[in-house]
């Protein structure tokens, strides 16, 4: 019995650490609607700075003072980031802030290694909390007891802050309806900055408090960021109490789950999230979001098919691309193939995101399923390449059909997180089912048949498929189906009022996007000759999001440019420098500031201005300025 009590308390201690970080994320999201990918980075910097301070300052005062000072210092960094970077892009399309914080995260990962060195750092134990307390023969670390108390205390302070201060009232009002708060004359700028500072402070405090039990290292951020997102979503966005309950739920299920299934930890949080979101679409304590008041941004610049001149230009560019094998070497061709494959992947997500308004955080699942489909067919059934290429993506299609059905019942960030949960479940199956998938050692030897084996042939194949896919999706955008899909995106209520079956349309779009991603994955398996669980992983899903956002989410096919720029730059930087994350992150942040509508979105806007300012009949008009391809 004593054991179960201690295990329960241990779970509570884990929950407290998780809650501190999650509460900050929840507050930031609730008010600013920023999906703050950099929250993990702030957590990590908090731990690093606290390590330095607690090593320098001696005594109990030095330790606790160092922890608090570190959290304050990071909060200050947060304020600077908010004022310099995020303020510029609050009016950018939804999720664009994700791109900025993603860029920051990349930079921080390299910066901490530059500043603090590559070794794992182990800080000192907390003065007064070094030992353990004996509980009927079981030891409970006294630091755990400290954390168990701290969690509810922080929850209480936040509750008081939100319920009993004017600032708290404003924050709650903004969480519910920030347009209304702005209309009532509240200075939103400072409200957002202060909220961001508080959120970052909590993240950094959470990181700093890990010093006595963890090692400080440069991958801490990734270890926690996804988990806290999940906790926030399970609890209900913007709900502090929800975050607390969710943290306890997840930690206790883990603490007791490993007694029965020792391998459960790898997937547990995602299973819980999937179940919670299917049963309660807004999390445990969340409320349905008020229907968004759309800014008219989308209607100002209506989408249109390419003019015939633009089509000619597109064709010419394609012909030029197709002549690459005449002068480029094998390496350039293989990189070209890889870029073409990522164009397929990015346009498939773009279709879902910008036409359907459904941002998926787990799109790699369908890419990876396509790749595994190929691996199964080629290695186990021994089918020829052509047959494999035709059948392999069906696995992506089936996955999308099943998961899409549940996912489209939700919207917004909840939709995104449910897709992430499904992707992680698929990933863990690929990772764990060693006898079939080979686990993380993957499936090797999936090489193309001889007719496609040479780099130039494979390049033409990839380019051809990428072109077909892009054209097909464009045709769909301007088909009745595409209009119906856009109607569900722009106004769910009105579209249903005119008889559009929104869920069915969105489900269809999800399946189309998933199948297309599967085609990309199928080609990728042949390009690399092997398939790994990585191909279904979070980082690939994030890559796809970044490509779409970089290209411009409000464009018809900006993802094509986004994919080319991001992938080419990534490959080139990784090859040229060990600090590729720092440079790439810096580039992304720069793009975010200079092109707040994405690369193509910005070019379109410039073109629009030029068209308006130039006199009618100007030759400029006839030229293919539009680059929405």
């Amino acid at each position: 019995m004593a054991f179960y009590v201690v295990q329960f308390l241990t779970g509570l201690a884990s929950a407290a650490s998780l809650f501190l970080v999650a509460s900050g994320l929840s507050i930031i999201f609730g008010v600013t609607r920023i999906v703050n990918f950099a929250h993990g980075a702030f957590y990590m910097i908090g731990a690093y700075i606290a390590f330095t301070l607690t090593e320098r300052l001696s005594g109990a005062f030095g330790f606790w003072g160092g922890i608090v000072a570190a959290a304050l210092a990071v909060a200050l960094i947060g304020v600077i980031v908010e004022m310099v970077l995020l303020r510029r892009i609050y009016h950018a399309p939804e999720l664009f802030q994700l791109l900025a914080t993603f860029g920051l995260t990349l930079m921080v990962e390299d910066l901490v290694v530059l500043v603090w060195g590559p070794d794992d750092l182990v800080g000192r134990r907390a003065p007064g909390f070094k030992g353990a307390v004996d509980f009927f023969g079981q030891n409970i670390p006294s630091y755990d007891l400290f954390l168990i108390v701290l969690g509810p205390v922080v929850l209480g302070i936040l509750w008081l802050l939100f319920q009993r201060t004017r600032w708290g009232v404003l924050v709650r009002a903004a969480t519910q309806d920030r347009d209304m708060v702005a209309a009532l004359g509240v200075n939103q700028k400072w409200l957002f900055t202060s909220v961001f500072a508080v959120g970052v402070f909590l993240a950094a405090l959470g990181g700093a408090l890990q010093i006595p039990r963890d090692a400080v290292h440069h991958a801490m951020d990734l270890r926690i960021i996804v988990e806290v997102f999940v906790v926030v979503v399970i609890g209900g966005l913007g709900s502090i109490v929800g975050a607390f309950v969710a943290a306890v739920l997840v930690s206790e299920l883990n603490a007791f789950g490993i007694l029965i299934f020792p391998k459960i930890s790898i997937i547990l949080v995602f299973l819980v999230m999937a179940v919670v979101l299917i049963v309660r679409p807004w999390g445990l304590f969340g409320r349905p979001e008020a229907p968004a008041r759309k800014t008219p941004g989308l209607t100002v610049n209506p989408w249109r098919p390419l003019t015939s001149n633009e089509r000619l230009a597109a064709l010419a560019a394609l012909v030029i691309a197709a002549t690459l094998p005449l002068f480029a070497g094998n390496y350039a061709l293989t990189v070209g193939s890889e870029i073409a494959i990522f164009v397929i992947f990015a346009v498939s997500l773009h279709f879902l995101m910008s036409v359907g308004g459904l941002a998926s955080f787990g799109h790699a699942a369908y890419f990876g399923l396509g790749a595994y489909g190929i691996a199964f067919l080629a290695k186990m059934a021994g089918l020829p390449m052509i047959v494999c290429l035709l059948l392999g993506p069906l696995l992506g299609c089936m996955g999308a059909a099943v998961f899409g059905f549940f996912a489209v019942q939700l919207s917004g960030v909840y939709f995104a997180m449910l897709t992430l949960a499904f992707a992680q479940i698929v990933w863990s199956i690929a990772f764990q089912w060693v006898s079939v998938t080979g686990g993380d050692n993957g499936i090797l030897g999936v090489w193309p048949s001889s007719w496609a084996a040479s780099p130039s042939h494979f390049y033409w194949l990839a380019l051809g498929v990428a072109t077909l896919v892009t054209v097909a999706l464009r045709v769909m955008v301007f088909s009745p189906f595409g209009y119906a899909l856009r109607a569900t995106r722009d106004s769910l209520l009105r579209s249903e009022a005119i008889g559009i079956d929104a869920k069915r349309i969105q489900w269809t779009a999800f399946v189309i996007a998933g199948t297309t991603a599967g085609i990309g994955g199928a080609l990728f398996a042949y390009l690399k000759g092997s398939v790994f669980p990585d191909n279904l992983g979070i980082s690939l899903s994030v890559d796809a999001l970044v490509m779409v956002l970089l290209g411009g989410v409000e464009t018809v096919s900006g993802a094509v440019i986004g994919a080319i720029v991001y992938k080419a730059l990534n490959i080139w930087l990784v090859s040229q420098t060990d600090l590729s994350k720092l440079v790439l992150g810096g580039f992304i942040v720069l793009i975010v500031v200079v092109f707040p509508k994405g690369i193509v979105g910005m070019l379109e806007m410039l073109a629009q201005r030029r068209r308006k300012s130039s006199p009618p009949g100007s030759p400029l008009l006839a030229k293919p300025i539009e680059s929405a391809e």
Partner: protein
């Protein structure tokens, strides 16, 4: 449509970059790939090690009079990116061979690439048994003692312990799984009386150490096998110390004696664990002295195990290239099979039968000295003594 133009532009840039590099024809080039950005704690000393080797080789006149150049790429910890890098090294840099890699799945990905493109590949660090056995191929050689070898070394010491009730803690991925599987198999062969009472599989890099320690303690084992390393190990040790998990229990632990993983533990290093590792401070052989002196003179820092691996990878590659007198992959394979050479750990041989080197490891016990973790009572275990019989290896490895 600007899209394709950028595409072509990017391709041109890549092409131009490639040509600029391949201008020098006189040098012999080795393409090296490792997870520099993902695992800097291991790869920084590793890089220093191979840079020292390159310097020494060129100071001694290069390879048959030609200068040795190592072109190094980061794989970011992703198999797909490692293949892109391998492709760049082979197709546009024109390297004579590939070398390096840390993670098992990346090692396997590059080995499969090498097999497909018929390029010589010397895997430095990946520990998976598959790379030389079940998924072995004729183009791939491996330097470090494999999972099987390290398990066999530990089993030799562990089987002498009186403990009968054993629990295991291992990261939940291929390395942890196969380390536990081999250890259990060899251990149960030697000691049929042993019971396996609990196993814990925390996700790699994400251990929730408190509940794991508590769960293991609840099974009340007499001895524990640990396979976690890095930050997970730190958390496990700290929780285990506070909760008294290791008190009165024997612990056998993979890799923990390597300075990369032992040093961060500082004064919390648990004493008396049986570990594999690299006690650079207590190795007194002329080969190692020479290496240590050169390393400390160049970097003013002590070597980690990664330094040895990096150093010996390039030294081995150079020895193979020198003997082959050519960069033809078939000749390189012929030269490498059965080739013996010196190393800081004494003479090693690349076996003909499975392309595994006989580099060994040190087995000893952890101890605390001046607030730091060290390995004591350590002895060198020759790799050749801990491999299965040739007949068994023949069964494990597919025919080329």
């Amino acid at each position: 449509m600007r899209a394709r133009n950028i595409f072509v532009g990017a391709a041109f840039a890549l092409l131009a970059g490639g040509m600029a590099h391949s201008a020098v024809a006189q040098d012999i080039k080795i393409g090296e790939i490792n997870s520099y950005s993902l695992l800097p704690a291991f790869t920084e000393p590793y890089r220093k090690g191979w840079q020292l080797a390159v310097e020494e080789i060129n100071a001694a006149g290069g390879i048959n009079g030609k200068k040795l150049v190592v072109i190094s790429k980061d794989d970011g910890g992703k198999p797909a990116d490692a293949q892109t890098a391998a492709n760049e090294l082979v197709s546009s840099e024109g390297v004579a061979m590939l070398a390096g890699t840390f993670l098992s799945n990346i090692g396997l990905a590059v080995s499969d690439f090498a097999n497909q493109k018929k390029v010589f590949f010397l895997a430095a660090e990946p520990l998976t048994d598959a790379i030389t056995w079940s998924k072995g191929n004729k183009y791939t050689f491996r330097l470090r003692p494999s999972n099987y070898m390290q398990a066999a070394m530990l089993v030799e010491a562990a089987s002498k312990l009186p403990a009968k009730r054993w629990a295991t803690i291992a990261p939940n991925y291929e390395y942890g799984q196969s380390a536990v599987a081999v250890f259990k198999k060899l251990m149960s062969e030697k000691r049929p009386d042993i019971q396996w009472v609990d196993e814990q599989w925390p996700p790699q890099g994400k251990i929730d150490a408190g509940p794991v320690v508590q769960a293991v303690a609840a099974a009340n084992p007499e001895a524990i096998l640990n396979v976690t390393f890095g930050a997970d190990l730190v958390k496990l040790v700290r929780e285990g110390n506070t909760r008294g998990l290791f008190k009165g229990r024997e612990v056998v632990s993979f890799l923990t004696g390597e300075p990369e993983y032992l040093d961060p533990l500082k004064d919390e290093t648990p004493e008396g664990w049986i570990v594999t590792g690299y006690p650079w401070y207590s190795i007194k052989t002329p080969e190692h002295d020479a290496f240590l002196k050169a390393y400390q003179a160049k970097y003013n820092d002590y070597p980690r195990l990664g330094s040895i691996v990096g150093y010996q990878t390039i030294k081995s590659a150079a020895a193979i290239l020198a003997k082959a007198g050519s960069t033809d992959p078939e000749k390189l394979i012929a030269a490498a099979e059965g080739l013996s050479m010196p190393s800081p750990f004494g003479e090693i041989t690349f076996r003909k039968i499975d392309h595994q080197s006989t580099l060994g490891a040190y087995v000893g016990k952890t101890a605390l000295k001046d607030g730091k973790g060290v390995m004591v009572d350590s002895s060198y275990k020759k790799g050749a003594d801990y491999l299965p019989s040739d007949a068994e290896v023949d069964k494990l490895r597919p025919k080329d």
